[in-house]
Structures are given as structure tokens and as C-alpha cells.
């Protein structure tokens, strides 16, 4: 199932907030609607929001709007994933070269989209080659087809492992507060018929202690030159646990997720989101009205906790050099 579609000069997005209960699509006809869809998490996942923003800029050209203003609008929709900036810069270059030709910009957005899927397939196979015999993999959040143009980054490696009969089972952290693991990763794995189970985020340590996890693979929202990696809140927790239990911890990410302008993770902007997204589930409060809540969207995994970076150019290790991007 495609979840980002460009059809009759309209951007159609699967509303990921409604999964797994309902498969509903919404359409974006303007850059504002596209920015709102990113901000409100109709679509999420670092590569997916980059692709979505690219289509949003194709809409801008089509409507003959002020391109720079729309670039800023889309850049501001979410702060942490660098793929958004990467895609906007690429569209900006195409806009400059083609004088803002709408058909050229739509073609460029589609190219970004298709290249992403291709990078994920390469990455999947390169990542799967890390393992010789059947393994059980733990993943956090959703770094699957839904988080990318298709196939997935961490879930792409898992798909390749499964195809090569080197996968025993996937443990999917439910990933509070948005439950991307419980809702989206489980949905993708169930659709693909890949053996899996959902666990609360709290339980990852328990299964590691029991020796049931062979490796951890997650995605990334932004990777600094020293390997520090921003990803969904809790990723660093899993990385610390993996180090404690001597389990390899891999990040799978395309080149568009690297930000080599940053020496370390200290410079990565970390998104804080609203109280209600934690304090209410399915419309009901789970926290007393009088209690404050902090809702942090991402954490930074120190580069030295990452066993290897699975990229479309191979398995890489920091420090990453500026000419690499």
C-alpha cells in the first residue's frame, strides 16, 4: 500500500494517526495543507516528511506562489529531522535551475521519492548481510515503509532479513506517546506476514536480560558528524540497554539523514510537543488535570553506542567526513 501519492497534481497522504483502526487518506492541495499534515503527524518519519515537503513545493510551483516563503513554511513544520531541510534544499536547487517550472518540480519530488525507496532496498540488503544466521531484532518507533518513501530503513533491513530467511522474530517497542511501534510497525509487520510481537517500551530490558534479542535496529532523524543520532524518544534508552547487555545496536538511515554541518548531537534541535498528546489517550485523560507533563519528541544516542550505521553506501562508522554527504 502506497501512503504518499502524487495524483492529478494533488498530494494524497494516508492518515497515519488513524492506523491501525482505519485506512483513511487526506488530500493536500496547498503548501499550507502539506505543512499542517507534517506538523499534525498525518505523515511522520524523517524520510517521509522530506518527501512530503518536496511534493508540497511542487504544489507551490503549480500554484505560482512565493517559493521561498513556502520553503520556510515547510522547513518550520517540524524541527528535528534533517531530511526535511535536505529535501527542501534539493527542491530549491531544481527551482533555481528550471526557473520554477511546475512539471520539473513535480518530477523532482517524484525522483526524491523513488530514490528513497531505492536507497532503502540497498540499505536493507547491506544491513541483512551483517547477519549470518536467523536473528531476533528489536526495533523502536516505526522506521518502516510508512516512515519513508517505501520499504523502510530499519524495517527495510528486517524485510530483507525475512526474505533471506534470516529472521526469527521482531520485537516492536510500542513507542509512547504516539505508539508508532504498536500502531504502525506492528501494522506493517502483520501485513507482510513477518513474525513479531509488540511490547511496552519498558519491557525491552527484560527481553534483553533474558537473551532473547540478538540485535537492535532503529532509524534516525538526524546524524551528526561524530555519529550522535537524534531519533524518536527512547532510542537512546534502548542503545544504553544494548550496551549494558552487550547486544549490537545499529542505526539504518539514508544519506539524507546525515547532517555533517553538526560536529555533535548537541546542536540538534529537539522538538517538544503538547501536553495533551501524552495526557490523553483515545480522548480520555490518563493524567490528573493538575499535573504538568513534559513531552519530548526525540533523544540523542551518543555515537559511541552505535555498533554501525547501515546506509545505502554501506556500513559506516564515525567520524563522518564532510565530503561524504
Amino acid at each position: 500500500m502506497e501512503h504518499i501519492l502524487w495524483k492529478n497534481n494533488e498530494l494524497i497522504l494516508l492518515d497515519q494517526r488513524r492506523l491501525p483502526e482505519k485506512k483513511e487518506f487526506i488530500s493536500c492541495r496547498t503548501p499550507e495543507e502539506t505543512a499542517s499534515a507534517i506538523r499534525d503527524m498525518v505523515v511522520r518519519g524523517a524520510p517521509a516528511i522530506g518527501i512530503t515537503a518536496a511534493y508540497g513545493l511542487a504544489l507551490s510551483a503549480m500554484l505560482n506562489r512565493e517559493f521561498d516563503r513556502d520553503c520556510r513554511l515547510l522547513l518550520d513544520s517540524r524541527p528535528t529531522a534533517v531530511n526535511l531541510r535536505w529535501a527542501v534544499e534539493r527542491m530549491r536547487k531544481c527551482h533555481g535551475k528550471t526557473g520554477g517550472n511546475a512539471a520539473a518540480l513535480a518530477a523532482e519530488a517524484l525522483k526524491i521519492h523513488m530514490e528513497d525507496i531505492e536507497m532503502n532496498r540497498q540499505m536493507g540488503d547491506l544491513g541483512a548481510a551483517l547477519f549470518q544466521k536467523p536473528v531476533t531484532i528489536l526495533t523502536h518507533c516505526n522506521a518502516g515503509a510508512l516512515a519513508t518513501g517505501g520499504y523502510g530503513t530499519a524495517l527495510g533491513v528486517i524485510r530483507s532479513l525475512y526474505r533471506q530467511r534470516k529472521l526469527k522474530e521482531v520485537f516492536a517497542d510500542e513507542t509512547r506517546p504516539y505508539l508508532q511501534g504498536a500502531r504502525l510497525t506492528a501494522f506493517e509487520l502483520a501485513e507482510a506476514g513477518i513474525p513479531h510481537r509488540v511490547i511496552t517500551d519498558n519491557s525491552a530490558g527484560y527481553f534483553m536480560a533474558k537473551g532473547e534479542i540478538d540485535a537492535v535496529i532503529t532509524g534516525a532523524d538526524r546524524i551528526a558528524a561524530n555519529g550522535d543520532t537524534a531519533n524518536k524518544i527512547g532510542t537512546m534508552v534502548v542503545a544504553v540497554l544494548a550496551r549494558y547487555f552487550k547486544i549490537p545496536f545499529y542505526i539504518a538511515a539514508p544519506m539524507s539523514s546525515f547532517d555533517l554541518s553538526l560536529k555533535s548531537g548537541a546542536g540538534i534541535p529537539i522538538e517538544e510537543r503538547s501536553r495533551d498528546e501524552v495526557a490523553f489517550i483515545n480522548g480520555k485523560p490518563i493524567v490528573p488535570a493538575a499535573s504538568p507533563v513534559s513531552h519530548i519528541g526525540f533523544d540523542v544516542t551518543p555515537g559511541h553506542l552505535v555498533t554501525g550505521f547501515i546506509t545505502n553506501r554501506g556500513i559506516l562508522h564515525p567520524p563522518f567526513h564532510p565530503d561524504f554527504g
Copy 2:
């Protein structure tokens, strides 16, 4: 607010499943009703279920039932917390001594209850003495008044710190799947006017990395002779994080939580509970129907990760000797 009440030969329990939305009480008139209330988590928390079981055995004597059978019934209601066994054994002794006198057994249950509150107050003050200047404490699950006869174990230390003006703030892990932190710890802290915030379990590492947490204090369900401690799932995760970030990690527990018949945590029975308790929140599914779920209730924190055990007899360190209990 009292949450376990013995009134006119009836056991009245605050239904903790409904908090913080509603304060509803249910009554138990038989040992079966008491065992169900424990199993279904109307009341939870290691010391609290011990106290509840003691009252359940007072009901058994009152109704002139087969005492041994009721002891087994209550012992089987939940497996991990040793306080349940401790309380049942104490009631069994009283039954033997008094020939099953109903008034004596009710008095013994009340004594267990009152002693628990007194131990918590002692523990609170002993624990607070560990800190010289105002601190920010992270706690997991609910080890408060609601988890005990009153005052709380970990939250007892926090209450004492607050009274002594040595508390900056409390971070309460929401504690999936039952959300005891978001629902119960936050409820108690809000009622006491203690500064606090709720965070997703995933976020504890983020705030430790930022240097915002000075110490961790949690309760315990069962402590083995080497200090290995079973407590709510995720406690060991917090302990591993605390070690990584060089933050002291304390367990606060009364003597009734120690099981010195066990050399290590390997012998502690770990409760697994139902899929639905994870897969549904507020009546709605968060996991695809086709996806399996593992719901583990507890994990074991290795004794060497615990900076100190705050007990009513002082700050203790393993190995614990058999004559100590």
C-alpha cells in the same frame, strides 16, 4: 484519603483502576472477592496487597471458612510481590495462636496495616537523610500511599524530603501499561501539592542526560538475598540508565518485601498478564488485531545496580543475612 478500610466487618477498597478520573470504592465481603480485587488490580502495590490479603483472612475467620484454603486462594492471587506471602504467614500464625478467633484476626490485620504506615514514615525520614540539599527525584510506577498502608515507600521518602524542604521536583514515569505513574503517583503528588511532572517512560534517559535528575527512588515487590529486586517492569531499565549516567539509584522497601529464602533474583516468579491490558487503552485497540503482544509485569534489577536499600531499619546493602528478616 484512606484507600484500604476495615469498617463494620467489611473490607472497603478504593478502586485504583478508576483513578484519577473517579474515586469509587468497592466492598469485599468474602476472601474470594478480596482475591479478585487483588488479581484485577482494584488494589495494587506490594505492601498494599499484603495488607488487603490480611483483611481477606479476617473475613475468612469471620465467616468460619476453611482457613488454609483461603490462605492458598489469596496467595495465588498474584505471584511476584512477597509481601502477600509475608502477610498470609503472619495471619496464619495468629490463626494458630488464637484458634481462629475472628476478632483477633481482624485486630492482627489492622496491626499489619498500621505497622506498615509506621515503617513507611521511618523509611521516609531515613531516606530523606541521604540528601543534604534540594534534589530532583525520578520515580517509576507508584510506590506511594496507594501502594502501601499509607504514606508510601519511595513516595514516603519524597514526602519526607518535601516536608524537610529538600525537594525540587519529582519526575513520574507514566509506567505503561497500567499507567500507575501517570494516574496514581501524579494523583498523590498533586493532592499533596508536591511539584512534579509526568513523563513517558521513554523520556527518563533524556532528562538524565540533561543532568536534571539527582537520584532515582523506586519501590520493590521482592528483594533476594543478593539484592536482586523484582519491581514493576521498567525499573531495571531505569537502574541501567542511572548507572550509565552515574546517578544514585535507591530502592525503598519495608522488611516485608525481602525474601531471603532466595539467593538471587533468578528464583523470583515474574507475572505475565493479558494481551488486552497492553493492546487496549480506554477500550480502544492500539495494536492491530493480528499482532501478538507480550505483557510482562515485572523485571529484576541486579543488586549491584542499587546504590542502597532504604528500609525501616536503615540504609542497607547486600548480601542480606538470613537473621535479618
